[in-house]
């Protein structure tokens, strides 16, 4: 058995005692360290390693074995052919390997170690950090690196391999060479063309890498025509994915789809629009999330340290129900023609539902929405954020019947959403209270209030959802403006 390891990889440290147990059995174990002599010696001492550890200073062995992540455990037969290749740490796998070489199980379920843990990127795919002369990160080239390809052993479960090697919590469609090729062909571009660099780690989103992630998400090849502009949108400095992906807040990029592409690719805009209702919505949202993880590097265990997270980080993509929208759709407000397809990104909290089944007037419906808007971010905090109001078709009909234009809706919500001054009676304590000298005082229904939003345009209005049920939604934003995240719309 051969195990390729790094001395500072937590998963390599996790697997080390189990490799000791394997080494106690009949089959010899050798480890290959990708690190320097001192670090390797210290690792052997600290981990009380009982098997030989070789070094791989030029990564020749790592390249030979095509290792992608460490640890990877290889089981060789007596002719040195690889019979198993096991990346990461997995107790069931370790017990299977033990059984294969005639040992009793070595990993018990309650020994304090997790059942499984993905590994780290192989060192030969990085630049050595102690080589000060190494090339700096190239942020400008339009031609990127070819993606590496791993050869799975016969009988290897590809879905389990993807989990261990790539580390996403949800199973993925294995990005086989054939599936990725079909996706790249649909894009009709050089596979190594760099479309964007994805914050916060600025990984190269080459056509091939976008395609591999799109395959994993379950996208059909024709989705590449949406994914290319989506990459440009998500790396737009105004959207500030760097901050959105690294914040402890709830924000996740919500994709809004407008225009004819909705029908062309099957984006759903009606009932259950935020749910698992259509392959196009679900897979595009999931592809963006996988790209943000795999190329952007904001994993929910490390750089993305959101306190509670957001279910939208599985997938968050809706289409506007333009057919039930009597006003201009979102993209038309941004200056696009109706027959231009677009995607819009908005850094959003999960939807907060507003039920109003009894109001018979525009005013009555919109008043209900103002009370949800008043709670965005934190009730006493005003002006530092935006909100998206997703109006359901039944509410839209009531509002439109009373002669409200979209502008009237926005201005009504702006004028009627406020926080009563009595909420600030306990002085400057509480989030948002210390800034109240900057807030604008208004009167709502006879009560003095601070205005909740900075401008009417802080409230984005979209029509979506099914034609039955008087349920609209309010989606709070993250920090906004030039110091936060700005909504961006890109043509498809």
């Amino acid at each position: 058995m051969i195990a390729i390891l790094q001395t500072d990889c937590p998963t390599c440290r996790l697997i080390a005692p189990y490799l000791n147990k394997l080494a106690d059995g009949p089959a010899p174990v050798t480890a290959i360290s990708q690190d320097g002599e001192d670090a390797t010696r210290e690792f052997v001492r600290q981990m009380e390693i009982r098997f030989p550890v070789e070094r791989d200073p030029e990564f020749e062995l790592s390249r030979h074995f095509e290792v992608v992540t460490v640890p990877t455990l290889y089981v060789l037969d007596d002719q040195n052919r690889i019979v198993r290749k096991e990346p990461g740490f997995d107790k069931d796998t370790l017990n299977e390997v033990a059984a294969l070489v005639g040992q009793a199980p070595i990993a018990g379920p309650y020994d304090g170690a997790p059942a499984s843990k993905p590994g780290c990127t192989s060192r030969h795919l990085e630049v050595s950090t102690d080589d000060a002369a190494a090339a700096p990160l190239d942020m400008h080239s339009t031609r990127g690196h070819a993606a590496s390809v791993a050869d799975l052993a016969d009988g290897e479960d590809a879905i389990e391999y993807c989990y261990r090697a790539f580390g996403d919590a949800l199973p993925v469609v294995p990005p086989t060479v054939e599936r990725v090729d079909a996706m790249v062909r649909a894009a009709d571009r050089d596979p190594r063309e760099v479309i964007a660099r994805i914050p916060p780690c600025y990984g190269e989103a080459t056509v091939e890498k976008i395609a591999a992630n799109a395959v994993m998400a379950g996208c059909r090849p024709e989705m590449m025509r949406v994914l290319i502009p989506l990459m440009r949108a998500v790396s737009d400095e105004r959207f500030n994915a760097h901050g959105v992906q690294a914040t402890t807040h709830f924000a996740a990029p919500l994709i809004l789809v407008n225009g004819p592409v909705r029908q062309e690719l099957g984006f759903h805009s009606r009932q259950n629009v935020f749910s698992n209702v259509a392959r196009a919505n679900s897979t595009l949202g999931r592809a963006l999330q996988l790209i943000l993880l795999n190329l952007g590097g904001a994993r929910p265990t490390t750089i993305d340290m959101s306190a509670l997270g957001n279910p939208g980080k599985f997938s968050y993509c809706i289409a506007e129900n333009e057919e039930e929208n009597p006003w201009e759709p979102l993209h038309a407000e941004q200056g696009f023609t109706r027959d231009q397809s677009t995607i819009t990104l908005f850094a959003a909290e999960p939807p907060h539902g507003v039920s109003e089944h009894n109001a018979r007037t525009a005013r009555g419906v919109l008043k209900a929405i103002t009370y949800a808007l008043a709670t965005v971010w934190s009730y006493r905090n005003c002006t530092g954020f935006e909100a998206m109001v997703v109006l359901c078709p039944e509410h839209v009909r009531t509002i439109h019947r009373d002669g409200f234009s979209k502008r009237d809706v926005r201005e009504f919500l702006f004028a009627n959403t406020g926080i009563p001054l009595r909420c600030y009676q306990d002085g400057d304590s509480g989030e948002g209270a210390a800034q109240r000298s900057l807030y604008t005082e208004i009167v709502i229904d006879g009560e003095p209030c601070y205005r909740k939003f900075r401008t009417p345009e802080s409230i984005k209005i979209v029509v979506a959802g099914g034609t039955a049920g008087k349920f609209s939604a309010v989606l709070g934003s993250w920090s906004v403006g030039p110091r936060g995240s700005q909504m961006v719309t890109y043509p498809i």
């Binding site: 390809v149 590809a158 190329l295 993250w478 936060g484």
Partner: protein, 91 residues
């Protein structure tokens, strides 16, 4: 079966960590406030201790315009000469 890696394989920029300071005495220490609430209170206290207890020669106070984005180049440029940087991260 052959699987295309979906992971970032871009080489990260190489740099060596600065050697650990043996003493703060006579050194220049930059204090970087990322502009989160409370950061200035924390750094005021750190500055006071650095000056009185550790006898640093100079303290540079800098602030990012927003915690939501990386520090702009001019802020990094102004703290470049410091022997050490202490960053106040959160609320």
């Amino acid at each position: 079966m052959r699987i295309v890696s979906p992971l970032n394989e871009t080489a990260p920029p190489a740099f060596a960590a600065a050697p650990r300071l043996r003493t703060l005495e006579g050194k220049t220490v930059a204090l970087l406030d990322i502009s989160k609430p409370g950061g200035s209170i924390f750094l005021d206290r750190i500055e006071h201790r650095l000056r009185t207890e550790f006898r640093v020669a100079q303290v540079i106070r800098e602030m990012k315009p927003t915690f939501a984005k990386p520090a702009p180049p001019e802020v990094i440029e102004r703290i470049r000469g410091a022997d050490a940087v202490i960053e106040a991260l959160a609320d």
